[in-house]
Amino acid sequence: MFAIVPALAFADDATTGDRDVPAIRENSFVQDPSAVQGPSGGDSNGRGATDSAGTRVSLPIDLEPIHRRGGVPQSLEILRLMEKQQRRVAERASKCTVSVKIGPAQGCGVIVSDTGFIITAAHVAMRPKLKAIVTLSDGRQVAATTLGMNREVDAGLIRIDPGQNGGEPWPHASLGTSDNLVPGMWCIAMGHPGGYDPSRGAVIRVGRMLEVRPDVIRTDCALIGGDSGGPLFNFAGELIAVHSRIGNDVADNLHVPIDHYDYSWDRMALGEAWGFLPNFKPTLGVSGNRSTKVAEIIAVKPGMAAEAGGMLAGDIVIKFGTKPITDFQSLVDAVADTMPGERVSVLVQRGNATVRLVIEIGRSG
């Protein structure tokens, strides 16, 4: 059940959302050390504290209010300063925005450490231990392996397989925090809308935050298929969120706040996958007996995925995708590792025959 009132106190409105006004600084370069948070796990030193190779750029003092609180620039001069800033961010951001291809599915990701950790959306990474092809901004393709995913918020982790950059550090994003985001703030989205296009590259979009919640932020940076897993930056060039999903309205673009990657880093780095987005639980629509030695289907629920795929009561499931099924619990676990909409090849024992079914996974609460 979703709350109507945003849970965070600072998400009240666009103009009074600031809760942490920093003192005006004397120099024109602001690098807030409190904003520097890195992945707490992993073997990397990719915490982004020193950022000559990162995406963080100096912020002109006149852009400080716009950067912190968002809102409408006071003059066209400020607007022109903003565009200078977003050009600089775009240039750096495009270097660490990558295309991620796993099987036929294409999404984006962003490199966050010089050792090649890539954060993305959980539904782009799909499952732990999958082989992924990562296309860098210069078109070079490298091999990567999926680690873990927190599907509760759609956060996923991938790592570029070691030894592919001649010992050189990977270009990576500077990490910000999603702790101080407020509606009305400006943000810069990068990604590969419609998939990777070598003649075009990553495409910048600029918009504002319309809603900030603990698990999701909504912006009017227009996204579309292929952008998932791509980065959202603030005006200092710090990574603040990752693209996740969209609604029909062009202003309904949802992103995973970056702090979730910090919270979930250790488990994801160990290759754990857990949870599901609300209304997004992968579902087969069968019942079985957990105490027997085989995965025998007792009943197929009408109108659900298994029925549509031709599964019958009495079928004994022996293989689900690439996973051998030994009992009903292992079937339950295998289904939990899929995503709604996936088409999975399923082998069942029906009487004396072995039958292959293709089932498109459904979803439930």
Partner: protein, 361 residues
């Protein structure tokens, strides 16, 4: 190709959320092959929509901020009517009433008129066309010429870099929206499609294997098993020549098909569309929102993310200094608006004005 899962989900939840990964259309039947999937709209989303206007990029306050830029070109922006509806904007290019607009929106022979910056509505005729970049040159011919109060646009040679703010003015100093330059000028190909599959035939007529539902072919009444003898009066030499001939057509073009159905020979007119649209899922169509029919096939276009309605193309596109850097030419998708750069517009305009002013024999 399998679009079924997407269609099923979208029918079940009309305002669904779509995970934004892209799935290639070639799905292997075996193994894991995910499809784009959907989630019903969370409750708070509806709540969020109401407050979005204050905080959004295109908020009223933002539009007021850039209004001075739109007002700089106020006398050069008109609205174009065809058959009583506003179909496009237009950019004034000469004192004596020549206006550039989007050609493909001037549908078949309907009378054209123009709403001038001062609100006056004046008749116009099409004086020249350039199909390759979808431009039409209109000539005003009505009302009191002295009161037109129009000013030709000054096209700028400035070439703003990626990440620059762009402003799209409407008529009367109004601003339609702001956006950001996402991709510098590039060639955008087109792939004309009728919406049919053919049986392989090395020569002779092309036989229709399957008509895609709701395609131009479907709407024209083409049926499975029809034999296409001619396209625009030209005899076909097999299925490959049909595909090649149709592929060269621009989306929005209407083709005349001469077909043989049983013993009857029929003539059908069918609207071409771009292959990308034919391939996309129902959900993709929904999230893309309203688009122009002619949304691809340009020699050179700037890509930006300003949200335009399909009938808001044809007007000038400004940089943050108010320079006219191009003309909006298509709303092509949720994240894509295209503009012809000023250099291309200027070259086309010179040729078209010359053609229009050439004394007729």
């Amino acid at each position: 190709m399998n679009q079924q899962p997407i269609a099923r989900f979208s029918k079940r939840c009309p305002s669904a959320f779509v995970l934004t990964a892209l799935v290639s259309m070639v799905l292997s039947a075996a193994g894991f092959a995910p499809a784009v999937f959907a989630q019903s709209t969370p409750h708070w989303m509806g709540h969020g929509r109401y407050q979005s206007s204050i905080a959004s990029r295109d908020s009223g306050a933002m539009m007021r901020l850039v209004r001075p830029l739109s007002e700089m070109v106020e006398q050069s922006v008109v609205q174009v009517y065809s058959g009583g509806d506003v179909v496009a904007l237009g950019t004034v290019v000469s004192e004596d009433g020549y206006i550039l607009t989007k050609r493909s929106e001037l549908s078949g022979g309907e009378p054209v008129s123009v709403r001038l910056p001062n609100g006056q509505k004046v008749d116009a005729r099409v004086a020249a066309r350039r199909k390759s970049n979808d431009l039409a040159l209109l000539k005003l011919h009505g009302g009191d010429e002295a009161n037109w109060n129009i000013k030709p646009a000054t096209f700028s040679t400035v070439d703003p870099p990626t990440g620059s703010f762009l402003v799209s003015p409407g008529r009367d100093g109004f601003t339609i929206g702001i956006g950001v330059l996402g991709v510098p000028a590039r060639y955008v190909a087109h792939q004309g499609r009728l919406g049919v599959n053919f049986y392989d035939a090395p020569s002779g007529p092309a036989m229709v294997r399957r008509v895609h539902p709701e395609s131009g072919a479907d709407n024209a009444g083409l049926q499975d098993g029809d034999r296409i003898l001619k396209i625009n009066g030209r005899q076909l030499l097999g299925s490959q020549s049909a595909i090649t001939t149709l592929g060269k057509m621009y989306p929005g073009d209407v083709v005349r098909l001469t077909i043989k159905r049983g013993e009857n020979t029929l003539e059908l007119d069918a609207l071409m569309c771009d292959q990308a649209l034919l391939m996309e899922s129902e959900n993709d169509a929904k999230v893309n929102g309203p688009r122009n029919v002619r949304l691809s096939g340009f020699d050179s276009v700037i890509q930006h993310d300003t949200v335009l309605a399909p009938n808001q193309c044809g007007g000038p596109l400004l940089d943050s200094q108010g320079n006219i850097i191009g003309i909006n030419i298509a709303r092509a998708g949720r994240v894509v608006s295209y503009a012809l750069p000023s250099s291309l517009v200027t070259a086309e305009m010179i040729g078209m004005l010359e053609e229009a002013r050439r004394p007729s024999e």
